[in-house]
């Protein structure tokens, strides 16, 4: 029935968007810089930490300032601080990502359900989410950890759960806009069920904000784990975690032992800034 020529030239802008995004990401200086920092600490946490001895004490050499032997000095027990800073990356790089993933998975599911079923479910969950958000996240985690007791697992669960409402809120907002698009109506006109529409039709389209949320939350998880460790309810001794180390040593700074906390502080700062540079790069590309 066709008489129109199908030999149409390529339309304007026919290209592969997927590679486009990766290319854009690899061109973002923020992303590359952040990735370099993150990979450095991942390297320390995996390969590096097996070459150093964070626990070996040398009480005679306690609180030695930085020197050729001990680049970052030693702590009260004479443990080498360079070794402890290198090894300190390990626990936080396990706990924070797991907490983030837990929060993102739960939050995404909750957000999809809330966005897709407006009405009573959404109303009730929204209220609960708002109630949880009314308390500072750190205080929620603090209380939960005092109540449940501290272990790596409870830290993961506490942070993951306290992230859930925040992520749910983001996902819900994205789903609400998607839900009104005609492709959802088209799916309903094919008789698709709610699960199919939520996970096969809508989810792929709300992935960009979720990925952004994932990277931003990872930064914030590191922030929170470090802070909780500093407050003594996060990672526990004998971990050489940075926040914990600062908490153990910051009473000493009045005595001029600045090296006992400075390097840990810089390590935390570099890691969170690195992760957030990645988040910034990803957010820029996702737009």
């Amino acid at each position: 029935m066709s008489t129109i020529s199908t030999a149409e030239p390529e339309p304007a802008g026919f290209r592969q968007p997927r590679f486009e995004r990766t290319r854009l990401l690899l061109r973002s200086p923020a992303f590359l810089c952040g990735m370099a920092i993150l990979l450095f600490w991942v390297f320390c946490a995996t390969v590096g930490q097996s070459y150093v001895d964070p626990l070996g004490d040398d009480i005679l050499n306690a609180l030695a300032p930085p020197s050729a032997d001990h680049w970052f000095g030693t702590d009260q027990l004479g443990r080498d601080l360079f070794a402890r800073v290198i090894a300190g990356a390990r626990d936080i790089l396990v706990v924070a990502p797991l907490a983030t993933v837990l929060g993102v998975v739960l939050g995404t599911t909750l957000g999809l359900v809330m966005g897709f079923f407006p009405g009573p479910i959404d109303d009730i969950v929204s209220r609960v989410v708002e109630a949880v958000l009314a308390l500072p996240l750190l205080i929620v985690a603090l209380i939960a950890l005092t109540a449940l007791g501290t272990s790596n697992l409870t830290v993961i669960v506490a942070i993951g759960l306290s992230f859930t409402p925040l992520i749910a809120r983001t996902v819900r907002a994205a789903v609400l806009t998607e839900r009104n698009l005609d492709y959802v109506a088209a799916a309903r006109l094919r008789g698709e069920n709610a699960l199919h529409i939520m996970f096969v039709e809508i989810l792929p389209n709300v992935l960009p904000p979720i990925v952004v949320e994932l990277t931003v939350r990872l930064g914030y998880a590191i922030f929170t784990v470090a802070t909780l460790s500093f407050l003594g309810v996060g990672l526990q001794p004998p971990s050489s975690d940075w926040g914990l180390a600062i908490s153990e040593n910051y009473a000493l700074i009045g005595g001029g032992y600045w090296w006992t906390v400075l390097f840990d502080a810089l390590a935390i700062a570099s890691l969170v800034i690195g992760v957030n540079l990645i988040a910034d790069g990803v957010a820029g590309v996702a737009e």
Binding site: M1, S2, T3, I4, S5, T6, E8, P9, E10, P11, A12, G13, F14, R15, Q16, P17, L181, D182, Y183, A185, A186, A187, R188, L189, R190, G191, E192, E201, P204, N205, L207
Partner: protein, 677 residues
């Protein structure tokens, strides 16, 4: 060049050899190349072209307000003899303050949402040195001049509290507040309803004549351009391809692109049963710089070797006309790109039992505790293989009706929907889904942008045709060939496709099963005319082949006329008129239909003028009596305000809801003068 240049002091705007480029991903993309034009004092010059041809860029360049990545790379823009491209910032500001102003699309966004109308307009006066109280009175005055009936109250309002037509009048008021030498109108009525558009265009024309302001009018609607402009320039891919007096260009175009554009539009009074629309094959080039020779040659049926090698200059044709075509003399005889004979379809007889029957359909929404009757008491029928066109302005309930037919929203109880004499369940869960499908207005929203074309169509085949594996693949190829979609697009995602291709995917999806009824909800309103023509041809072909019925919703009466056998006119949820297409067009009309028809200017520039006054009433507080009486130019008397007229049959199958006698309707519409404004 044989343009007769007016004396220098009579030129309001002169653009010379203007090049504009946008920087995209580190590379310069040329948008306008070597644009030359001049507008004389008091002249209205139209710039037309399809999307992406650079017409808005030209406007923004004249105002020197290009996007951050845009840049004038060559040429001069002279307003009153001063070069805008070289102007220091302060001089530019004074130019905008006193000499040039601009009105563009979407007035809702052009007004500052957090400042009341009064101060927003008054600003223009205080800027040129008026005192506060003087600015106040002049604001009142200018609002009155743009025919705002209650300016004191409007001044106290915020922009979002006004209707679109009202907002655009305020924007025009600001643009004309201080007498200007030049005003630029960039699609000023796109997005407004037809009757409102007509009123705004009239207003612009009247104000322009009053001050003999020069106008640069930018638009894609050839009818609007024909009505407003004395001279016109046709842009294609950043190049001016033809220029001259509007009437002559539209009567006898001398560039193949202009010829193609005009042929894409359904001719007045023709339908798909009479002839197939012509189209412009191919696409706008992605990078115009890469096309050697004539910019239009890849899409031109007359292209010769010389066209591929040498770009023609703008050749003067005498009488102020020029064309950028080597073969301008032959352009009117451009061969068609589609064959002219219409698709053959088996006849639809008046006697056939209807496929779809809608009886006493109503839909009431709840708006903050108040019932809003989106649709009331609609009865319609549609035969197999027939198209019912549905016409009406925003708020008329067209889309609500479509959604009810699809089962996306349930109708009020008491409504009856029958398909093939069987009751159609109100929700899709209990339906034979295959039977009723839809082609949505906006393909960007209708296609899941995360899925490939193969997946979108494949899933529809699985669900609606119950096909899997090899038979499904084979059917998919059949289907995509049927909608003229090349195989290589199957693995593409929607964003990689042009608007027309996306709409083809959506049509393939609707036809995945064996639909009896396809609802087409403004399927071409987001497309350029050349693409629209191809889609309309496709819909007509598919209907002839499959004997499918269409409910075709559109605000474009020419398109509705072309595709429909019968037409229904909705106003505020009421069926005002229904009947065979040619009778609804020929009359006698309902006064509202009459106004709608007269609001559409054709490219030949002819139109009778029936101007509706006032705003479309809100559906929350519909008028008493006849829903149309508040704007009706033929109101008889109190009966219209109090008593709703019945939908009474005036001819075989042609019913009108009006108190007027048929003779009355006929008398006035056949009168040469039309209804005086």
């Amino acid at each position: 060049m044989t343009r007769e240049p007016p004396p220098a002091d009579e030129i309001a705007l002169r653009v010379e050899n203007l090049d504009v480029a946008y920087r995209v991903r580190g590379r310069d993309r040329s948008v306008l190349r070597g644009l030359d034009l001049q507008i004389g004092r008091g002249e209205t010059y139209g710039l037309v072209g399809e999307s992406g041809c650079g017409k808005s860029t030209a406007a923004m360049a004249v105002m020197r307000y290009l996007p951050r990545n845009g840049r004038i790379t060559a040429g001069r823009i002279l307003i009153d003899g001063h070069d805008v491209t070289l102007m220091p910032d302060e001089a530019l500001r004074r130019l905008r303050e006193r000499s040039v102003s601009m009105v563009y699309q979407d007035p809702g966004r052009a007004l500052n949402p957090s400042i009341r109308i009064g101060p927003q307009v008054a600003e223009v006066f205080t800027l040129v040195g008026a005192s506060e109280s003087e600015a106040q009175t002049r604001t009142l005055d200018v609002l009155r001049r743009v025919r705002i009936t209650d300016p004191e109250r409007v001044m106290e309002r915020y922009p979002h509290q006004l209707s679109g037509g009202m907002q655009q009048r305020v924007v025009i008021a600001m643009a004309l507040a201080v007498e200007r030498k030049l005003i630029i109108l960039d699609e000023p009525t796109t997005g407004l309803d037809a009757t409102v558009e007509a009123e705004v265009l009239d207003l612009i024309e009247a104000l322009r004549a009053e001050h003999s302001t020069s106008v640069l009018f930018i638009g894609h609607n050839l009818g609007v351009i024909a009505r407003m402009c004395s001279r016109v320039g046709v842009l294609y891919a950043g190049r001016l391809v033809e220029e001259g007096p509007t009437r002559e260009i539209f009567a006898e175009p001398r560039h193949p692109y202009t010829v193609g554009l005009l042929r894409c539009l359904p001719r007045r009074g023709t339908s798909r049963l009479d002839e197939r629309l012509d189209t412009i094959p191919g696409f706008l080039p992605a990078s115009p710089m890469a096309v050697s020779g004539c910019i239009f040659h890849p899409r031109c049926a007359m292209a010769q070797d010389i066209c591929r090698q040498t770009e023609p200059p703008l050749i003067g044709l005498g009488g102020g006309r020029s064309s950028r075509c080597h073969f301008h003399a032959d352009a009117p005889h451009l061969p068609r790109s589609t064959r002219p004979d219409p698709a053959v379809r088996s006849a639809v007889s008046e006697a056939d039992a209807p496929l779809l029957r809608v009886e006493d359909l109503g839909k009431t929404f709840d708006s903050g505790g108040h019932p809003v009757h989106a649709l009331r008491d609609i009865s319609l029928h549609l035969r197999s293989g027939e198209t019912l066109g549905l016409v009406g302005e925003s708020g008329s309930g067209k889309t609500t009706l479509a959604r009810i037919l699809l089962g996306l929203i349930p109708p009020d109880s008491g409504s009856r929907l029958l398909l093939d004499a069987e009751s159609l369940p109100p929700l899709p869960a209990r339906r034979n889904l295959d039977a009723v499908q839809i082609v949505f207005q906006n393909p960007d929203s209708a296609l899941n942008r995360a899925h490939t074309v193969r997946r979108i169509i494949g899933r529809a085949l699985e669900r609606l045709a119950k096909l899997r594996g090899r038979p499904m693949q084979e059917r998919m190829l059949q289907l995509t060939h049927g909608v003229q979609l090349a195989d290589r697009y199957l693995s593409a995602k929607p964003r990689q496709l042009s608007g027309g291709l996306k709409q083809r995917v959506a049509i393939a999806r609707a036809f995945a099963g064996t639909p009896k009824l396809v609802v087409c909800d403004e399927p071409t309103s987001a497309l350029d005319v050349s693409v629209q023509a191809a889609i309309l041809n496709l819909l007509a072909d598919l209907q002839a082949e499959r004997h499918t019925s269409y409910l075709f919703i559109s605000h474009d009466l020419g398109v509705v006329r072309y595709l429909s056998d019968r037409i229904a006119v909705l106003y505020l949820g009421r069926l005002m008129e229904v009947g065979p297409a040619e009778r609804v067009f020929r009359g006698p009309h309902h006064p509202y239909t009459e106004a709608l028809l007269s609001a559409v200017p054709g490219p030949d520039g002819t139109s009778r003028r029936v101007i509706l006054k006032g705003e479309i009433p809100s559906a929350v507080r519909p008028p008493t009596g006849c829903a149309f009486h508040t704007r009706c130019p033929r109101r008889i008397g109190p009966i219209c305000d109090t008593e709703e007229p019945p939908l009474s049959e005036r001819d075989a199958g042609h019913a009108i809801r009006c108190h007027l006698a048929t003779v009355e309707m006929r008398r006035e519409t056949t009168g040469a003068a039309g209804v005086p404004v």
